[in-house]
Structure formats: structure tokens, C-alpha cells
């Protein structure tokens, strides 16, 4: 059965697009059939992060408005053939999307893919609303700082009230992905600790992605980190998160740099919803 997963955060710049691409690639590497949709109409980035910017002909707006067929707009990744991208339009704005049209596109994708990952734009306006509207499950991307946490909290409230699943009385599944985390800085009190964030947001933890220059490098060359440098800490964090999404039980760790002491990684229990 296919799952529609929205990657959202409220705040901008916390790593939604990077996480969408990396989780999508990691799920595809695990053998799943995955499509990642860029909902950030007008400010599209996902194509760059996934290295497909030269292959975009048709986009989500064309498909929603019926100007192109889905098969024409989908771009299959050259490195992992179970990974596809549905890019956003750079020349239009969010008003070009309609709820009915997006619903139709997602319904069609459900028949073709195991995972439909919706990369939400920042904010709480129409684009973000449409990205979450038809989702079954959400990954809430949060940085360990107070403004990001508060925005995530706001988004969680919307996931519980504005999605179709929630409106029909269903329980919406939400997971926290803590990104740009530095255990050392948290220990010095320069950023929130994992437990502080979990206490405030009260949703289960999907993974902790360390702050890493590897991620920047991967974005710059247009290759999701799980493909670009699978051995890096950040890539392993995303791979672990993807396996947890597939139902595997993997002990939580913060993938911090501890040279020579990898066996002493901190274990951490995932919080219950």
C-alpha cells in the first residue's frame, strides 16, 4: 500500500528539501518505489538538490492544470532507478495549484509508487496546506532552536486539523526529524537538547541528523547525501530514519563525531506519541 508523506516544518531553511531528497533516496535504495514532489512552486529547489535541473520540461503545475500527463513530468533518477522527481514550476506561484488538482495527481501517483514524498514550502499558507492536505504521515523537520520548535508545534497543530485524514477523524502519524544537531553545542547549552525538543513537541523521534559540511557538499553537487557519501554520519542518520519508516527497530543515536569511540554512541529511546 502506498504512503503519502509530507516533509514539513513551518520555518524555512531548516532542511526540508535536503531531508525530502535524502529520505527519498534512502527509501529508494532500500528497494522502495519513491517519488518526491516539490510543492515549492515559484521557489523550486528540489531539482537542484537531486541534480535534475537540466531535465525539467513539465512540472507539477502543468500536471495539475492538465497541460501535461504525469508520465511526461516525472523525472527518473539516473543513479537509483526506483527514485523519481516531480518538479515544481519556477515561473508560477502557489495559486496555480488547486486542491482538486493536487488530489487528483496524488491519487494517480498512489497507483504507481510505494512512497509519495511531498516536500512542503515554508510557511503556513496555501502551498504548505496543499502539501500536507492528502498526506497519511508527516515528517516534521526541526532545528534545535526555539523559533524552529515553535513553528514546528504550529505545523503539528495544523496536521492534526487541516489534513483530509484528520478531518475524517483519522489519527495522523507524525515523526520528528531533528536536523543540524550538534551534541557538543547542545552540551554547552548553545542549542536545545534532544530531550528538550521532544518534551515540547511530544511526537515520536524519527532521527537525529548531525550538522555536517558533507550535507552542503552533497547539495552543491546535486546528489542526495545517502548516494553521495553513504558512509558519512549524516547519510547514516537518514538511512536509519528511512529504515524506521519501513518499520525496523533501530536504536536511536545522534551520529555525532566521536573518533575511535563509535561503539560508545549514545543510545536514546524514541519518545512515545
Amino acid at each position: 500500500m502506498s504512503k503519502v508523506m509530507v516533509v514539513t516544518s513551518g520555518k524555512g531553511g531548516v532542511g526540508k528539501t535536503t531531508s525530502s531528497a535524502s529520505l527519498g533516496a534512502a527509501l529508494a535504495q532500500a528497494g522502495q518505489n519513491v517519488v518526491v514532489i516539490d510543492f515549492d512552486v515559484g521557489l523550486r529547489n528540489l531539482d537542484l538538490v537531486m541534480g535534475a535541473e537540466r531535465r525539467v520540461v513539465f512540472d507539477l503545475v502543468n500536471v495539475v492544470q492538465g497541460d501535461a500527463k504525469l508520465a511526461q513530468a516525472l523525472i527518473r533518477d539516473k543513479r537509483v532507478d526506483t527514485l523519481s522527481l516531480l518538479p515544481a514550476s519556477q515561473t508560477r506561484d502557489k495559486d496555480a495549484l488547486t486542491e482538486e488538482g493536487v488530489g487528483r495527481v496524488i491519487e494517480e501517483l498512489r497507483g504507481k509508487f510505494d512512497w509519495i514524498i511531498c516536500d512542503s514550502p515554508a510557511g503556513i499558507e496555501k502551498g504548505a496546506m496543499l502539501a500536507m492536505r492528502f498526506a497519511d504521515i508527516a515528517v516534521v523537520v526541526t532545528n534545535p532552536e526555539v523559533s524552529s520548535v515553535r513553528d514546528s508545534d504550529r505545523i503539528i497543530g495544523m496536521l492534526d486539523s487541516k489534513t483530509q485524514l484528520a478531518e475524517n477523524g483519522g489519527k495522523f502519524e507524525k515523526h520528528l526529524l531533528l536536523t543540524r544537531y550538534s551534541a557538543a553545542r547542545a552540551a554547552r547549552g548553545e542549542m536545545l537538547k534532544v530531550d528538550d525538543v521532544l518534551e515540547i513537541l511530544a511526537i515520536p523521534l524519527l532521527g537525529i541528523v548531525p550538522e555536517s559540511t558533507e550535507i552542503l557538499n552533497a547539495s552543491n553537487v546535486g546528489c542526495p547525501i545517502t548516494l553521495h557519501n553513504p558512509a558519512s554520519n549524516a547519510a547514516r542518520a537518514y538511512s536509519d530514519a528511512a529504515r524506521r519508516l519501513l518499520g525496523e527497530k533501530i536504536e536511536m543515536n545522534d551520529h555525532a563525531e566521536r573518533r575511535g569511540f563509535m561503539s560508545r554512541l549514545l543510545g536514546r529511546k524514541a519518545a512515545m506519541a
Binding site: 515553535r150 513553528d151 508545534d153 504550529r154 497543530g157 518534551e199 515540547i200 511530544a202
Partner: protein, 249 residues
């Protein structure tokens, strides 16, 4: 000419936020007034003694005669304390000319829900034929229990009684109760109690990290109560016209 050396008595002016009902008539006005009459037949005391602000529709034309509309509302015993969304000149020369124009108020926008929509509760239906049975006692003051966290941006409004939250109230969220507020979690947002019961309301929270607390219109912010109570289980009440916070432990 005498020079007075006696200084005038100090005037103390205090601020208080109250809740006003915002009534926004829609065009065409005769039909809207009919609808209002119908609503008021079903809920006779809803507007009794409540301040009302009239929000004029943007499409109001001069021919619609704003003063006549205000007269019509006044005839229906609405206590108009202010108007918004109207050109000042339209009311000059009428008995409404001195009403405060609430320009600083937020624009009324049903989509973004900046203002709270209030359901007008129907009066209990009274049987037309007299019955021998004594009237059923009024239902006890209600209580609203929320068994999940109140998220940032959410506003829980329950005028009929107490609100109990099993979970935390996030920064940027608000809980507003006619009676008392009980929070079994961390209060990081706003808690407002006593909208209806007034000074008798209390606020309880298991962990205080609030942005604002208020009982009966008196409010307080963290810079006032200081760090000593931060993170502790706290009871908040009104004593001698002032908010009093005390820790349980």
C-alpha cells in the same frame, strides 16, 4: 489671581481588556436584520449587557445609511460601544457621531480567523403548553477537557466553564475559559480565566513557563513574576484586586 499650591489629586487610570462581540452586518441589510431577529428570538439574552462593536461591510454604500443601521441595532437592545470599517464622515450629524472608531482593531477576516467566531447558543426550548412537571434544572456549568497538547497558534475558547488540558500549552497558543483553567503539563502560552465568572476563577499549571496569564481582565507577564516560579507547579488567583502566584512545592 491666586496661585494654587495644592497639587491636584492623582488620577489613576488602569487598562483592562474586555471581550466585545463584533457584529458584522451583511448586505442586503433588510434580509440581514430579519436573520438577526430570527436569531434573537431563539437566543433572547445573548446580547444582554454585552458590549457590541459594529463592523461595517466594505461594500457599504452611502445609500445604505449607516446611522439607520445603528438605530436599528439599538432598537434591538444591542449595546453599541464602537464601530469599525466605516468613514467617519458618514456618521457626522447623527447621534452616533461620537462613537469610538476602532481603527486599530484587526480587520475581520473569516478565513484567517483572527477573530473568534462565536456560536450563538439557542435558548432552551420551552414547551408551548404548560406542563405540570417542574422545569428541568439548568445543566451544570460545563467543563471542557482537552486530552492532547494545545499547539502553537491554536486558541481554545470555552465560555461556559472550566478548561482542563491534559498536556502542554505551547508557546503561541492560548486557552481562554469562562471559569478556571487547569493545565496538567507545561504552560508555555497564554492562559486567560474568568471571562464569565470573573474574580473567582483560578489558573493551575504543573509547570509555569507562560507568556501571559490573566484572570478577570487583569494580566501579568513573566518579566513581572520573575524566574523564581519558572518551571514550578503554580496556582494563580486574584487576591485584593491583584494577581497572586504561588508555587505548590
Amino acid at each position: 489671581m491666586t496661585t494654587s499650591t495644592i497639587s491636584p489629586p492623582g488620577i489613576s487610570i488602569r487598562g483592562r481588556s474586555i471581550m466585545a462581540l463584533i457584529v458584522s452586518p451583511e448586505l442586503p441589510l433588510p434580509e440581514w436584520l430579519e436573520g438577526l431577529d430570527e436569531q434573537m428570538r431563539r437566543a433572547a439574552n445573548f446580547f444582554a449587557d454585552r458590549p457590541v462593536i459594529v463592523h461595517f461591510p466594505a461594500t457599504l454604500e452611502e445609500s445604505d445609511n449607516a446611522a439607520a443601521l445603528l438605530d436599528a441595532l439599538d432598537d434591538r437592545e444591542l449595546r453599541i460601544v464602537g464601530v469599525e470599517g466605516i468613514e467617519t464622515a458618514l456618521l457626522n450629524g447623527t447621534r452616533w457621531a461620537r462613537l469610538p472608531k476602532l481603527r486599530q482593531g484587526r480587520p475581520l477576516n473569516p478565513d484567517t480567523r483572527t477573530d473568534r467566531l462565536i456560536e450563538i447558543p439557542d435558548d432552551p426550548v420551552t414547551p408551548t403548553a404548560p406542563t405540570i412537571e417542574p422545569a428541568a434544572p439548568a445543566p451544570p456549568a460545563g467543563s471542557l477537557v482537552i486530552d492532547r497538547p494545545v499547539r502553537s497558534g491554536q486558541s481554545i475558547f470555552f465560555e461556559e466553564g472550566d478548561i482542563t488540558v491534559i498536556g502542554s500549552v505551547a508557546s503561541g497558543a492560548e486557552v481562554i475559559a469562562g471559569g478556571s483553567v487547569h493545565i496538567y503539563g507545561t504552560l508555555r502560552g497564554r492562559a486567560v480565566a474568568g471571562i464569565r465568572t470573573g474574580a473567582g476563577a483560578h489558573i493551575f499549571c504543573r509547570k509555569l513557563a507562560a507568556e501571559l496569564i490573566s484572570i478577570d481582565g487583569l494580566y501579568d507577564t513573566p518579566e513581572h513574576w520573575g524566574d523564581g516560579l519558572h518551571g514550578r507547579a503554580v496556582h494563580i488567583r486574584l487576591e485584593h484586586g491583584a494577581l497572586k502566584l504561588s508555587a505548590f512545592d
